[in-house]
């Protein structure tokens, strides 16, 4: 049956890609798959499933079936007890879709019920829509059970994944997908990439490629563009060749975002390029009143009050509200501060040099009274460090150093922009679990789960609770004693995960603390790193949950003096 693309074929392709995790294999599998598609509708839908999920990410529509609903439906389908059987299975398998796949594949009751028929991509989409139209768990269970009867285990897995608001490819990286489009339709990669940026949609790019009409692809406003990202420099001795070629901008504590404006129409996209317009009505109102010509601004959304920028954690909280109205109660004044201009005067500016884009941005900011970041020049290394220290002391996160003649390298972490960051916070954590690897070149325990103390905390029974996973990036001579001690402390074993007796204390650096209700602690460390093992400390010296709570509250009450950071308005 080759009438239309089957979901099974897409799932098998994805399964292979996830299995091998190799860039060129990924491109080859995808390219083979794209070539097998005959209609543009299928191509568009396949790409959405691969990269965005069930619904286009900028559409703001989401699936409404919870993990609990899907899991209990699977338990029912297999005739097993959800609490007693499904949950321990999920704990061992790690995630819901994989658990469902394994159980529906293994358990006799489910094997008897299933009679796989080839589902088209469109049929899968219809099912997702149908699930979104009903509210009761019972109705959803019924739709799921009927749908699963016609599916292979691998289809059931990826169908569940889509329902859980995930995309089929694990990595949001569009590069292998664009390469596969280029390969499938025999087109130059850079051309495909440009059209992707212009249209803002991989699906549309693929369709233009399939129809051999890339030249006709329009530059589209209100589709999020890939961001240019800064590379990190850890060491402050980095030499900037000819400092007159650079400018430095403060790194503000805010949410990176892109605003598309055409007079009365305003759309805001997040750093992950999802549409967050509805979360910031005050920003939309601000720009609507300005009556701007068609522009795309790149910048950050900041909490701004009394001439100060306040921690962006407060904004992240706002994005977590389910209903977009409820947050208005938080009364946080939000300001968008631009640092780049990507579209102006009916022209895309990606190919223009930074100083030219800046000229246009300054003019625009001046005419319309918009806030833009301050740019500083520096004369040499000493000057730059001075600038950095001043910026950080005024509350900024660091500096972004940009090459004046660089183009806007969309979708790249480029060395034309470099990030100098202020030193991070640290805490002392107990190592609770070690995670083993079977990698040829790798260390014995590439990852550990770090924990904090709740010994004297009424809210918890246990002594320690996890606060996050940390990678082991210590040098070899420090890893060796760590491995030795870890092996001595092992008490339980769950496959590659090893439970340890508390006995190792690690000093951990992290960027900031986030509230996260899915963790036992209620907090999560953002980008934690292992700095060293504190052989001098015992688990009694570990940081406590109250320490974390205190640090979190310090973090969110910190603010930045605005005059150091922005001009305009």
């Amino acid at each position: 049956m080759s009438r239309t693309a089957t979901f099974a074929k897409l799932c098998k392709t994805v399964q292979e890609i996830r299995r091998y995790r190799d860039y060129s294999d990924t491109v080859r599998y995808l390219s083979d798959y794209f070539q097998s598609l005959k209609s543009t509708e299928d191509l568009d839908l396949a790409l959405r499933f691969l990269l965005e999920g069930a619904f286009p990410s900028h559409s703001g529509i989401q699936t409404s079936t919870s993990s609990y609903t899907i899991s209990t439906a699977a338990a029912k389908f297999c005739d097993i007890d959800y609490q007693l059987v499904f949950k321990p299975c999920r704990k061992a398998a790690g995630d819901t879709p994989e658990t469902i796949k394994m159980l529906l594949e293994n358990i006799e009751e489910s094997r008897k019920k299933r009679e796989p028929q080839e589902q088209t991509l469109q049929e899968i989409m219809n099912l997702i829509n149908k699930l979104n139209q009903v509210n009761s768990r019972n109705d959803k269970h019924q739709i799921l059970a009927t749908a699963w009867m016609k599916m292979l285990p691998v289809e059931i897995k990826y169908f569940s994944l889509l329902l859980l608001k995930k995309s089929l490819l694990e990595s949001p990286d569009t590069k292998p997908v664009l390469s596969a489009i280029a390969e499938a339709y025999e087109i130059e990669y850079e051309k495909v990439r440009f059209v992707h940026m212009a249209t803002g949609s991989v699906g549309r790019t693929a369709v233009f490629a399939m129809e051999n009409r890339l030249n006709e692809a329009p530059f589209q406003l209100f589709h999020p563009k890939p961001y240019m990202l800064a590379s990190h420099i850890d060491d402050f001795d980095y030499k900037f060749e000819g400092s007159d070629k650079y400018v430095a901008e403060p790194e503000l504590d805010g949410l990176r975002s892109q605003i598309h404006i055409d007079k009365n129409s305003v759309k805001i996209f997040s750093g992950k390029r999802t549409d967050i317009t509805n979360f910031f009505p005050e920003v939309v109102r601000f720009f609507k009143n300005k009556n701007l010509p068609p522009v795309i601004l790149d910048g950050v959304l900041c909490v701004y009050q009394n001439e100060c920028i306040h921690p962006s954690e407060l904004l992240r909280k706002r994005l977590n509200h389910k209903k977009s109205e409820s947050f208005t109660a938080d009364k946080l004044p939000v300001l968008f501060i631009s640092f780049d201009l990507l579209f102006f005067d009916n022209k895309a500016l990606f190919g223009e040099e930074l100083f030219r884009r800046r000229q246009l941005l300054e003019k625009l900011a001046n005419n319309y009274k918009l806030a833009i970041t301050k740019q500083n020049v520096f004369t040499g290394q000493q000057d730059l460090i001075k600038l950095f220290n001043r910026s950080v002391s005024l509350g900024n996160k660091g500096l972004i150093i940009k090459q004046k003649n660089s183009t806007y390298e969309y979708g790249e972490r480029s060395i034309s922009w470099m990030k100098m960051k202020s030193s991070k916070s640290t805490l002392n954590a107990v190592i609770m679990y070690a995670h083993r690897s079977n990698h040829r070149e790798s260390v014995e325990f590439p990852e550990f789960t770090a924990g904090i103390s709740v010994k004297n905390d009424q809210r918890y029974q246990e002594d320690f609770i996890p606060i996050g996973k940390i990678m082991n990036n210590l040098p070899d001579d420090e890893t060796e004693p760590l491995n030795k001690k870890t092996n001595e402390l092992i008490v339980e074993r769950y496959g590659p995960t090893l439970g340890l007796i508390p006995g190792l204390v690690a000093e951990i650096k992290y960027d900031h603390i986030q509230v996260n209700n899915r963790t036992k602690a209620g907090y999560k460390l953002y980008s934690p790193k292992l700095c060293r093992i504190r052989w001098d400390l015992s688990p009694d010296d570990a940081s406590t949950l109250s320490d974390i709570e205190r640090m979190y509250h310090e973090e969110i009450s910190h603010s930045t003096n605005i005059t150091s950071a922005i001009t305009g308005r």
């Binding site: 996830r18 091998y20 321990p88 299975c89 293994n106 040829r440 070149e441 014995e444 590659p496």
Partner: protein, 320 residues
């Protein structure tokens, strides 16, 4: 019912008969060893034990110095108050289940076991009339269901052929005792030279003595290893085994490979779900088939799930 105590490592002690199963209890008079994996071997290298001939040979290769009495499968041994018989456990060569008959009833201790049995073992068979079954539940969740051995062995051979055709060297990650030789046995029909890690190499002749074909193999040699099939435990790989060989593809062979999460953590190139333990469904089947008065589950990270299934079948069970 025969009284028993769980001991610190994998083993059990039967105080009324002073019998130690896979452990070294200080009051025991008789020590039985189910198989030669290190978590079942006696901690004291001189403890006199009863075991099968292959088990003794493996233990001697691994440093056992004691005096052992060899028992053949199915041949009962009378020890005054009890009669002890070994039954093949299907886990690795020489692995046995220990069946004890006494006035208080009978007990079968499975050690590590597998059914359908490993093709490189003496098979799996159960005695009649078991009152109390002590069985391992390493893979005690319904997410674990092994494919038939023919499918797994085809997968192993396909991986090998494909890798060799790409001018790469296939490397299998497998324990030195059991898994390594099982893979060699499955690959023997390919008639392609195998090189195995030195610790596994020492154990191969025991398999051949028992008539199990391991194909043509030699000890790993960094200079001549390229293009041969290599077999090594993963620990040796991280210490530099095969580091001289540039084009290689690594296959991780384990029951844990069934779980995608574990595969993601390993960075092998290929994963083969090959276990030397029985899967969940066989475990439940064995219990159902025997229908003993009592089942004791050991070695299980999730005994509650097994207990739930057994209680639905009306089988009285506990976990230790």
């Amino acid at each position: 019912m025969i009284r028993f105590q769980k001991t610190s490592n994998s083993g059990f002690y039967l105080p009324d008969h002073k019998l130690a199963l896979d452990c070294s209890h200080k009051e025991a008079n008789y020590f039985f060893i189910s198989h030669a994996h290190s978590d079942h071997m006696p901690q004291n290298r001189k403890t006199p034990v009863y075991c099968t001939r292959p088990t003794l040979k493996f233990m001697q290769e691994r440093g056992y110095k004691g005096k052992a009495d060899i028992l053949n499968f199915f041949e009962p041994l009378n020890l005054g108050s009890v009669r002890v018989t070994l039954y093949p456990a299907g886990h690795i060569l020489g692995s046995s289940m220990i069946f004890i008959e006494s006035d208080e009833g009978t007990l079968l201790y499975t050690g590590d076991c597998k059914t359908p049995p490993s093709p490189a073992s003496e098979g799996f068979s159960l005695p009649e009339n078991i009152n109390h079954l002590i069985i391992e539940g390493t893979f005690g969740l319904p997410i674990y269901r092994w494919k038939p051995m023919e499918e797994i062995s085809a997968e192993i051979r396909n991986f090998t052929n494909r890798t060799l055709n790409e001018n790469c060297t296939p490397v299998f990650l497998a324990y030195n005792l059991g898994k390594a030789q099982e893979i060699m046995h499955l690959l023997a029909p390919l008639k392609h030279a195998v090189q195995i890690h030195k610790d596994g190499y020492k154990l191969c002749s025991v398999y051949e003595d028992e008539g199990i074909n391991l194909g043509s193999y030699e000890e790993y040699n960094a200079e001549t290893g390229a293009g041969k099939i290599l077999i090594t435990p993963s620990t040796a790989l991280s210490k530099g085994f095969a580091s001289e060989i540039s084009n290689k593809k690594i296959a991780y062979c384990s029951g844990w490979a069934a779980v995608e999460l574990n595969r993601n953590r390993s960075s092998a190139d290929y994963w083969i779900t090959l276990s030397d333990h029985l899967d969940f469904f066989e475990l439940i089947n064995v219990c159902k088939q025997i229908s003993p008065e009592k089942v004791t589950i050991t070695h299980s990270p999730n005994p509650e799930v097994i207990l739930h299934y057994l209680s639905n079948l009306g089988i009285n069970a506990e976990a230790v």
